[in-house]
């Protein structure tokens, strides 16, 4: 958090959010729309049915110059093996091997610099940490002035292809430089909703023009942070500061898949030996409450004898699932799907069971090879 000042920052789309009737709330130091007049439920369902446009300009963008592969000193992801034109998900680890942040990194074709996107609330600290750790080898230049839009949903390809050459041919995790509505852009086929879709990085000055062009398409509605949260929760995607933080390691969070094969074998990252050896006391799981009552972040998880075995880290109602859902840490012995649990809600046990994630299937446009 940018806690040094109580003045909230605004993204380049602030005026457009107001014009669209966005309900603005403080989030990670920014004034952001939690919802528009359609409301969270409709915005969520619309994104899964057609396409939604999200302003995620509060996220931290930057370019890493120098020896980009030195990034492997702060992440267990395979950076050296990332092919040109590809993006990858990685964890930024503390020297103790806990999760400092999660982020995306891209190797744009024909470019030496790596393009990074980190979380809004951690961006200042992340880039300072990377620069300190990689001093003399590689340096991040923050570009917090750039805008970032996400266009998500089954109609995203058709919509974006009307304004951006080359985007229809992209598959999941591919990234290119192109133009969107005439503005120079970095476009990747990724997102945070479980749907097919794109993230579009543009100069701040071009943000409104690009957003208006996309919102002008019949399939597209503006979507606020409320639906962004329910969409990512249904997709089983972690939210930093809630499901993962610097008290959690990648094995506990179920994020070992983000560690490259070469890195897993070499165990050449902070606390690598212990993380790969496993045998941790707790694990992040999906949880489906019975009935209709949601359990929120912070609710205690108990076994059927009433003993507390963990805590909910994200919880709410899934509009597409049409049911409550949650994520939380439980003692490892209780982590198998189907394990019955109780969630303590308003002092009463709410019956629930461990469930596989994602709760709603991912619809990524995977390459066919």
């Amino acid at each position: 958090m940018n806690a040094a000042t109580d003045t909230l920052l605004r993204t380049p789309l602030y005026a457009l959010h107001l014009e669209l009737g966005g309900k603005m709330v403080p989030f990670a130091g920014y004034e952001m729309p939690v919802q528009y007049p359609a409301g969270i439920l409709k915005e969520h369902l619309h994104t899964r049915a057609q396409a939604g446009l999200f302003d995620v300009s509060h996220m931290g963008q930057g370019f890493l110059s120098g020896d980009g592969n030195a990034l492997e000193r702060v992440t267990p992801a395979d950076v050296a093996g990332l092919k040109p034109g590809m993006q990858r998900y990685g964890l930024l680890l503390t020297p103790d091997g806990t999760i400092r942040d999660d982020f995306m990194f891209s190797r744009l074709a024909g470019e030496d610099d790596l393009y990074l996107v980190v979380n809004a609330g951690t961006k200042e600290g992340d880039f300072a940490y990377i620069n300190e750790t990689l001093k003399g080898t590689a340096q991040v230049t923050p570009r917090f002035d750039r805008a970032l839009l996400a266009l998500q949903g089954p109609a995203a390809e058709a919509v974006l292809a009307r304004h951006a050459p080359g985007v229809a041919a992209l598959t999941f995790m591919q990234v290119i430089r192109t133009t969107v509505a005439g503005a120079p852009a970095i476009v990747s086929r990724t997102g945070y909703t479980g749907e097919d879709g794109y993230e579009i990085s543009i100069e701040g000055a071009d943000a409104e023009k690009v957003a208006r062009a996309l919102l002008g398409e019949a399939e597209v509605l503006p979507i606020g942070l409320g639906a962004r949260d329910s969409l990512r929760l249904e997709a089983g995607l972690c939210l930093y500061g809630h499901d993962i933080d610097d008290s959690i390691n990648p094995a506990e969070a179920g994020l070992l898949w983000s560690i490259g094969k070469r890195r897993k074998e070499a165990r050449d990252f902070p606390d690598g030996e212990r993380i790969m050896a496993g045998g941790f006391a707790k694990k992040l799981v999906g949880i489906l409450p019975e009935g209709r009552a949601p359990a929120r972040e912070g609710a205690e998880i108990a076994d059927k004898s009433g003993r507390v075995i963990g805590k909910v880290t994200s919880g709410g109602f899934g509009p597409s699932l049409n049911a409550p859902l949650a994520m939380g840490y439980v003692e490892t012995a209780f982590a198998a799907p189907g394990t019955p649990l109780d969630l303590m809600v308003r002092g009463k046990p709410l019956p629930a069971a461990v469930a596989p994630m994602p709760f709603v299937p991912h619809k990524y446009r995977r390459s066919k090879i």
Binding site: R292, A293, F317, P324
Partner: protein
């Protein structure tokens, strides 16, 4: 002859003879957003003014509904459990939460009338 009063917690209460009906105001329903879960009190439960009476959860958050006045629950609106969206669609009609008998009329008389509540909402 029925009379409607309001609380600063954004509940409305309509007194018809000896029975009162309680719900949340349009302002409250709009602030909460899409309601996805409602828990209403069981018939026979004694409530005291200001005490927790029901629960409403929207996609955003959980909120307690307080008893505007003391009384005994004569009915909970079970239809809300199946169709919580009635709270958004018709908060001051079909979206009622519970009915009370044995209502404390002094407490009722001290609540805001429609004009005072409208002024209160405007001040927020």
């Amino acid at each position: 002859m029925s009379e409607v009063r309001y609380t600063d917690q954004h509940e409305w209460i309509r007194l018809d003879g000896d029975e009162a009906t309680v719900g949340i105001t349009k302002y409250a329903a709009e602030s909460l957003g899409d309601v996805v879960f409602v828990e209403v009190p069981a018939s026979g439960k004694a409530l005291t003014a200001g005490g927790e009476a029901a629960v409403v959860e929207s996609v955003k958050a959980a909120s307690d509904i307080y008893a505007p006045v003391s009384g005994t629950v004569s009915a909970g609106n079970g239809a809300l459990e199946k169709e919580p969206s009635k709270v958004n669609d018709d908060p001051e009609g079909e979206g009622w939460f519970f009915k009370l008998t044995g209502v404390n009329k002094d407490e009722f008389g001290k609540l805001m009338d429609a004009a005072a509540y409208a002024k209160f909402v405007e001040s927020l």
